[in-house]
Symmetry: C2
DNA sequence: CATCTTCAAGTGAACGCTCACGTTATTTAT
DNA sequence: ATAAATAACGTGAGCGTTCACTTGAAGATG
């Protein structure tokens, strides 16, 4: 494989020192406009492109960040990832991606790999590690932005959507439509910090209504999880008139389950998702959901990370992004 | 930010030379088992991790590849991307991603960026550039694997699914079910090399049936594109009984359009997609489609790229992957 | 016993760039 | 007229590795 020209080749051709070429290509001061132009012409002629590895070595800035995410294949996360990538790219940064499949061990390996790969910072989406573990890690190494989790600590910033508030809003809407027996299908795992569950409980409490523990179940965060969860929920509680799920994928699985069980959506059961992924408006009936702008979350997260890289001393407070209710055809008033 | 220990720290601690440590961590020969173990213990104690940038500089292998793809947010491509990432990761490689949004200029920039970022190879999914342009680029720089396009040239390998054959199979199936007026909604752009169109034509020809040029239309490769395309197709040709689309997303848009136009799927119009993305089995009615295993394609592409990196002299011939018909509820026999 | 081989380890250079200075001319202030 | 400041460039070192060589000691061979 041929090797491209180096900065020395350009310098020799232009009859200047290496450093002057560096000044030209990096838009630094201490160089006259004329020589800069002359050098840039030669850069173009030779097709010279600075070697990122060498730049990284010398400057201790690799212009690379690491993204740790459960699965890029998941439509909800794909948008976050795209938001991060676009923001990174327009800032001349590159992104390494590592999928964890929600496995803590994978997450740890990703974290360590990124350190050895010399990334300038890490975005951690929906981490499995505890806040303390992350803080401890960040403290001794790199700026980290955590997405979907509230963390207030130096070296760690957090960007998240106001899930508690949005879930409350959704339940308020269903209450208003006459629903009283509303099921919640949430994710597996420990629910102590579950924003969905908190919003659910708070909504019932603030209306002074009661809910049965049977109405809250846990399932995998997939189409199949939503399907099975709904079967379980509706056979245990046939009187249920509405279901709210952890994400749109599960909601679509839920709609399928209703259809297979002969329960019409929305007349017999109202379904509400969460995420507003692209296809939610294209399923039949179209899905009511909570719009979570993943792209925007990703973009903001990346911007925050760049801030942290640029000013490591500043402590940034967590950012809460608004969430909006999107009412379509899968929910309607009880007749 | 603290800096981690370097190879020299390990060497000093172990009382050996830098090179010996290098031999130990890279599993090279020329070192005794005892000293290797001793060094590895110290590596663990100090938490030493080799610096990838420095390794890349010295060895001219960055252990990084570049992935150029239209949009990671697209479910079909997401799987390819995940297959590539997983294969890369298990081979200790990292992946840079660049989204082009099907824009040729973006593609070119991505290509050039990757060169300057010192990647060891590039995977190009569904390139916009011509074969000649890609060959020319590859010839002077890096090994490239092209996905979804047939290329036979040194330095360029190609991995693709047998779309022509699969499309023929799909039409054969629809013919067998009694359909004669079958619409094709394909992508925008020049169709001279369109595999879908070729398969479509060949199928009609081999059955000695004729089709009207009106039956083939072009639309954006999105849910909305499928929706609009179907509206156009069905209002122009109300007699049409089946539609086959460029991808599942468009097919789901098509189903929505049928529903909005009062045409029942599958009784009035049969719909067949392409890709078998996860949700296709969860829409109602579930979507008949052509299973294109994106993950596998990605995995094979990455493996091929690693082969090329390891043995730059070998010329690899294109790989055709099988595609399978998946019949669900959105297609059935004419009554 | 002299020589040859083998294995373990060390040495210096190189990779391509940036950083912190150093140098020289040219302008501005006093 | 002289000192001081500024602009435009150059110099050497260093970033953390690997690579091509060299060295040294132990064992094998005749």
């Amino acid at each position: 494989m041929k090797r491209g020209p180096t900065i020395d080749d350009v310098a020799k051709e232009a009859g200047v020192s290496r450093q002057t070429v560096s000044r030209a290509i990096n838009n630094m001061t201490g160089i006259s406009a004329t020589t800069r132009e002359r050098i840039m012409t030669i850069v173009d002629e030779l097709g010279y492109r600075p070697n990122r590895l060498a730049q990284g070595m010398a400057s201790k800035r690799s212009l690379t960040i690491g993204l740790i995410i459960t699965d890029v294949t998941n439509p909800a996360h794909a948008n976050v990832s795209r938001g991060i990538q676009d923001c990174a790219q327009s800032n001349n940064y590159n992104v390494f991606i590592r999928n964890t499949d929600s496995n803590k061990q994978n997450e740890l390996e990703a974290l360590n790999s990124f350190v050895s790969e010399g990334v300038d910072g890490i975005v951690l989406v929906g981490p499995r590690h505890t806040i303390d573990e992350i803080m401890n890690f960040a403290d001794r190494t790199l700026p980290i932005v955590v997405v979907h989790r509230y963390i207030k600590a130096p070296y760690v910033a957090s960007i998240l959507a106001d899930v508690v508030g949005a879930t409350k809003k959704a339940l308020e809407y269903l209450f208003g439509a006459g629903h009283r027996s509303i099921g919640l299908i949430t994710r597996l795992g420990n629910l102590d910090n579950s924003n969905h569950l908190q919003g659910y409980k708070q909504a019932y409490q603030s209306r002074e209504l009661t809910y049965s523990p049977d109405w809250v179940i846990q399932a995998e965060r997939t189409l199949a999880g939503g399907y099975k969860g709904t079967q379980r929920l509706l056979s245990l509680n046939p009187e249920m008139t509405a279901i709210i799920t952890y994400n749109d994928l599960m909601a679509i699985g839920a709609m399928k389950a209703c259809s297979d069980m002969g329960r019409c959506v929305p007349d017999s059961v109202a379904i509400m998702g969460f995420d507003d992924i692209a296809l939610s408006s294209y399923v039949t009936p179209s899905l009511s959901t909570i719009r979570f702008n993943g792209y925007e979350v990703g973009r903001v997260a990346m911007e925050r990370l760049l801030d942290m890289v640029a000013r490591p001393d500043v402590i940034f407070s967590p950012t809460l992004l608004d969430i909006e209710l999107v009412i379509r055809d899968s929910t309607n008033a009880i007749k």
